[in-house]
């Protein structure tokens, strides 16, 4: 079984693919400041340059052979993301966080299947990444000021909404053991169930907040998993898009109700049936965490 430590820990050596672009530079600096062991960058044709003192290589293979990189964060534009991901998978990395949005679904299907076969964990695409406040480590783009070390594991399909909820959790003095965005696309790598498994085994995590949204059936599947495995830690859920109209993409590629599929109500019902408390609004999550007795 996959553990949180197995995908990211103090020994993770992180590389940035697309490090010389605006986003790559900005977040390289932010990750270094937070404490992430970021050791290399890759941009084809920019080998030999430096970004924030970090050496840039033309290929992933070079970054791996010189620095023992085992983790990557991808900022390359959508049309090149497939190639970047495949290059990192073939280099045998243990985890790749794909920040890029608007990647064609066919491409995501292809590189996620390839990663599954090779044992590489893909987070995203279209994700804010992962942050582990107790370890001062992030492979992601989340603003660290909203996060505090603590005991709540947060898993989400969203970015800023996660920050909003993390802020409530931080202000309540609970803090987070880790926050992981699985991505706002219809096709994503790591899913709710895998993250729930990780939080179950993680000693720092005492309760879990799951932030879902309309579209697909990932929340219903997670609810079934929680009920069938008699999940041992309290879970509080929040679902965005209760008032979303059908057949409209609500900002995220994956946030779309199709026919009767993917409605907020179906997800809320599934969680309630699984004994998971569902918050009506983001600020209620902390109250519900209080009642579930951490």
């Amino acid at each position: 079984m996959m553990s949180l430590k197995s995908i990211v820990d103090e020994s993770s050596k992180v590389m940035v693919q697309g490090i010389t672009g605006n986003e790559g530079r900005f977040h390289t600096e932010a990750m270094l400041q937070y404490g992430t062991k970021l050791v290399a960058g890759v941009t084809p044709g920019k080998g030999g340059e430096q970004v924030c003192g970090i050496p840039v290589y033309n290929t992933v293979a070079e970054a791996v052979s010189y620095h023992g990189v085992d983790t990557s964060i991808v900022f390359v534009p959508a049309r090149f993301a497939r190639g970047a991901a495949i290059e990192a998978i073939e280099a045998g990395l243990r985890m790749i966080v794909v920040i890029t949005e608007m990647i064609p679904q066919k491409d995501s299907i292809e590189f996620i299947a390839m990663a599954d076969k090779r044992g590489t964990v893909i987070i995203g695409p279209n994700t804010p990444g992962i942050i582990v406040p107790p370890k001062k480590m992030k492979v992601g783009i989340m603003p660290s000021q909203f996060f505090k070390p603590g005991v709540v594991g947060v898993v989400s399909r969203s970015g800023t909404l996660t920050y909003e909820i993390a802020l409530h959790i931080s202000n309540a003095g609970l803090g987070q053991s880790a926050c992981l965005g699985i991505g706002g696309d219809a096709i994503v790598g790591l899913d709710f169930i895998k993250v729930l498994e990780m939080f179950r085994e993680d000693e720092e995590t005492r309760s879990v907040v799951l932030i879902g949204e309309v579209g697909g059936t990932a929340e219903e599947t997670a609810a079934r998993y929680i009920s069938e495995t008699k999940y041992p830690k309290p879970v509080v859920a929040y679902i965005a898009g209760r008032s979303a109209p059908p057949e409209k993409r609500m900002g995220h590629a994956g946030a779309i109700v199709m026919g009767n599929m993917g409605t907020a109500q179906s997800k809320i019902d599934a969680f309630i049936a699984a004994g998971v408390a569902v918050a009506d609004k983001p600020s209620d999550i902390v109250k519900l965490l209080g009642t579930v007795n951490i």
Binding site: A78, I211, G259, K281
Partner: protein, 379 residues
């Protein structure tokens, strides 16, 4: 991007699949010409991008040219589920013996393309899944190995056919559909019904193709097709041009925020507290002042918007830049409406001060801001 039936059929024909004889027609005279040329009973099919067209009267049959012209006069310019009919596909009426179903779509949960084949065509496949699940066959495609004639045969082998020819024909159709889905980056390629005619041929009587918007850079022929906005209203089309995620809703409070989840949560909070959202705008991460300003103008341009709620939780998005955008946008709106802003995060103190000086009320949390806006609208 949804393609029209006639566009989908053009693609299928390129791949050697059979479709009924016919042509597109834009007025009753053209319909008459096509019907005359076909010289037999015809089907007139409204070209609109909505499903369930048949049940809404969008498909008419005519036994002769006169009837065809009459039906065309009735159909062209009429509305089907809110979409105006601009053209008809005029086709020979098939003599159908059996109706099958074939599609390629994406299974989000399995993260695979899935091939669906059914011997129960002409109805919703979801319905078949409920009523006669043994008449559907599914095959989840491993992208590394793909889907060919052999896997296709295995997929339809469970059905009882009269003879091998039908199996081969059906398998060939679904293998071809998979090639179409791959070549065009389609989210959906569907033939329903796949008609077996009295002469034993398999013909795509109706076809739907939905392309992946994110893959249009590989298909420039569709990028500027001009019909991108055909299933959108003018504001949604304008938002698309500006690369903004915008959705029109039916209430009176405009909603703007950074990040899809946060904007949805804001919209939901408005509903929970008794208000109704007029629209939904996600300005995304790291938005520049111009984007915020234009977005605000777009949201206010909707008739019936009485007030606007802006929720910014700045990480990559700088609150001072967002504030500048809000002030700039408001200065360009002729018919200004009250705005409540929640502004927090990177550079928020500077941003809040800018808004205060401009006389725009600003709140530290989304619930307070939401309650204010609902109060204004209800008054």
């Amino acid at each position: 991007m949804k393609l029209f039936e006639f566009e989908a059929k053009d693609i299928l024909r390129k791949y050697g699949l059979q479709t009924p004889s016919g042509s597109i027609a834009r007025d009753p005279v053209e319909v008459e010409i096509v019907a005359k040329r076909l010289g037999k009973p015809v089907a007139l099919k409204a070209q609109v991008l909505v499903s369930g067209r048949g049940k809404s009267g969008g498909i008419q049959f005519a036994d002769d040219v006169g009837e065809a012209k009459k039906a065309a006069i009735y159909l062209i310019g009429s509305h089907i589920k809110g979409n105006v009919v601009r053209s008809l596909l005029v086709e020979e009426k098939l003599s159908i013996v059996d109706q099958y179903y074939a599609s390629i779509t994406i299974d989000r949960q399995a993260r695979r393309y899935v091939v669906l084949a059914s011997t129960n065509g002409g109805v919703d496949v979801e319905e078949t899944a409920l009523t006669s699940p043994n008449r559907i066959s599914r095959y989840w495609v491993d992208p590394a190995t793909g889907f060919n004639e052999e896997t296709a045969k295995a997929t339809v082998a469970q059905f009882s056919f009269n003879g091998d020819r039908d199996i081969t024909e059906f398998a060939s159709v679904i293998a071809t559909l998979y090639r179409v889905a791959m070549d065009y980056d389609a989210e959906l390629v569907e033939i329903n019904p796949l008609a077996k005619t009295s002469s034993g041929e398999f013909i795509a009587a109706d076809a739907r193709i939905v392309l992946d918007d994110n893959a249009l850079f590989r298909h420039p022929e569709f990028e500027d097709r001009g019909s991108a906005g055909m299933d959108d209203n003018p504001r949604e089309a304008e938002a698309k041009r500006q690369n903004l995620a915008y959705v029109d809703l039916s209430g009176d409070i405009g909603i703007i925020g950074n990040g899809a989840g946060l904007v949805m949560a804001t919209m939901d909070l408005v509903h929970l507290l008794g208000g109704r959202a007029a629209n939904f705008l996600d300005i995304g991460g790291g938005a520049q002042p111009e984007v915020v300003g234009k977005g605000l103008m777009l949201v206010m341009s909707k008739p019936g918007v009485k007030a606007v709620l802006i929720n910014i939780l700045g990480g990559i998005t700088r609150c001072d830049l967002a504030a500048r955008g809000i002030i700039g946008g408001l200065s360009e709106v002729a018919d200004e409406k009250p705005v409540a802003v929640r502004l927090m995060g990177t550079n928020d103190e500077v941003g809040r001060e800018m808004l205060r000086l401009a006389g725009i009320p600003v709140y530290p949390d989304m619930e307070t801001a939401t309650k204010k806006v609902i109060g204004w609208v209800k008054r």
